[in-house]
Homo-oligomer: 361 residues x 2
Amino acid sequence: MTKISLKDIAIKAKVSVGTVDRVIHKRGRVSQKALKKVQDAINELNYSPNFVARSLATKKQIKIAVFIPSPSLDSFWAQPLEGIRKAENFIKDFGFSIEVFTYNDQHPELIMQMTPQIMQGGFSCILAAPNNKEEFNQFFDQCKQNKIPYVQINTYLDRNDDLFICYIGQDSFGSGKLAAKLLDFTTKPSDTLLILHLEKEIYNAEHLIQKEKGFKEYFKIHNNHEIDIEREIFSDIHDKKKKKKFIRQMIKLYPNLAGVFVTTSKLHFVVEEFLEYGSDRIKFVGFDLIEENLSYLKKGQITFLINQNPTQQGYLAIMGIFDYLLKDETPSKIQHLPLDVVMEENLDYYLKEIKGTTMVS
Amino acid sequence: MTKISLKDIAIKAKVSVGTVDRVIHKRGRVSQKALKKVQDAINELNYSPNFVARSLATKKQIKIAVFIPSPSLDSFWAQPLEGIRKAENFIKDFGFSIEVFTYNDQHPELIMQMTPQIMQGGFSCILAAPNNKEEFNQFFDQCKQNKIPYVQINTYLDRNDDLFICYIGQDSFGSGKLAAKLLDFTTKPSDTLLILHLEKEIYNAEHLIQKEKGFKEYFKIHNNHEIDIEREIFSDIHDKKKKKKFIRQMIKLYPNLAGVFVTTSKLHFVVEEFLEYGSDRIKFVGFDLIEENLSYLKKGQITFLINQNPTQQGYLAIMGIFDYLLKDETPSKIQHLPLDVVMEENLDYYLKEIKGTTMVS
DNA sequence: CAAATTTATGTGGGCGCACACATAAATAAA
DNA sequence: TTTATTTATGTGTGCGCCCACATAAATTTG
């Protein structure tokens, strides 16, 4: 009942293990006759290589580069990083190692500066979160030139080259629809709902565009209440004066405001002001279980947060790369993770991460 | 930069690898002097064994038994099984194999009949879903006698012996609270909410008791609307006549019925009748993304389903056992998985499972 | 047809570890 | 002191695979 080994194949095909090895790795130098015998034996015995032994034998160290926004600038990224570390812990005995590079998505010009360093680091694969559309299209072009395969997480950039392995993350469009549904629980006829982008250069952030589209899509289908959908952009969130002014203006502009959908994790920057100047009817929906948002959720001032399984994103991406490099398994191109609806009552379970090496999706 | 190996330790401690091996495995036959030298070397070089090589060297096959309700009788169990298979696919190259035994929780007397077979199967570890309290306490006693460690999923049975490795699953109490919150979104003063157990022998199903407690707990804290909480038990769900009669009776008994919480995955058995005889104000909350429930969710007749991460439960349990047996890692005893609030808009993402060998939570 | 070249096949060492076995050192019994 | 006995230590083989190298067979060239 024990697994079929190379040797079993060799015996069955009446050749040496060296020949079988050559067939499996398509190294050539095998006669037609032997080739067929070996292939038949492999099929008959339903052989698949033992990747544990394979990993031990190929003593080559495999390096993976990770390129994500800095967790110290945006605490959201601590979570994917945690998943990445968890995966690293698992695959390190297979000779895999991980090197993390971080960027600031508010200063995308630095991304290009870091690119050469990453390209020349001798990495077998790159995991990147392409927050900035333009820069990362260039980055991935570089990957292509250097023949380095890559995986995307969190933000999806449509790429056609064959070095793009897969995307793992949320469906931004779907998350917009979900946000709409959550706000729609409490809408009344002729209410206003506001889509609020707290970022500059929206055009360059594909995921935000998709979220807005999804939100609007929901109300195209379900607009039984004649809800008024508005959208605004404001990026000076660190300038308190400007922020207050802006929010006052919003309240004035939209007297029937019943809900605010912030398309990033930055909802916490505006909740207080909306509550102060606006009516208490206003409900909020935003993204991500970062500390700053959680305090409002716990106080009941934010009703819903949408969680995008960040830890899982990082973990799955690394493990996918592992499968790809060690087992030659090609994953499906688009892997959408669940969009969790998080409120006070189920928050805890999302926070405590599963202990032990081997988490999983 | 390559990892420290046994040999490195041997050289540093000026002994042979055999001696190092003896120290690591506590096999004795090592002098005090040598012991100390080796321990010091291990600490200094921060050595940890390469579990890939270890697995290859210990050629022994490790068998894991899985004991869960039959997926053909309760389709919920297809999902944990999927996670189990996924994990199996990963660990099979490590010489691990899995054998699945199923039982019928409606006929717990058969559980004891199967027990000897499982105990004598030569398993290194058992994964069980202890739906029936009494029988599984006996079952786990047997595990203890036979010195076979075990992991619980989905239902938690408090056990004190040191062969109980861990529990992986939802927090039943918390899921009750969450259900209460979901129904409370639309309650009005003096509404009635009904906790409905569609099982017999509730006293023997610990998780159901906990769900009820959690539900009531929520309204102890949040009862601003003077909601009336009722609870009923009905188990003849396959007898349509009795079922209809029962539901009519409920409607009559509770004229202000605004919500029904079914504590298992069997909500689909009663939705239609409640909708037929009752007011359309009645909202439903139940568990599990099984096909029968999903059709109602998609039609908008069920608003919320609570998902208990079943696939993950199975996957994590097996991988936990793997870590436990191969890496000597002791996991934390209680691992609560997230309680996902699933509605029409985010359903899809929970259904499509991540492709590839190595999922992971 | 022998020699040189190309192509096909087999052999052996090693990855890091576990484990059986052989040997050496220390201690006890004769 | 010699011989058993116990205890300590080292060596060697193999897990399944990869890969470098040696050898053998087929083909080409002179």
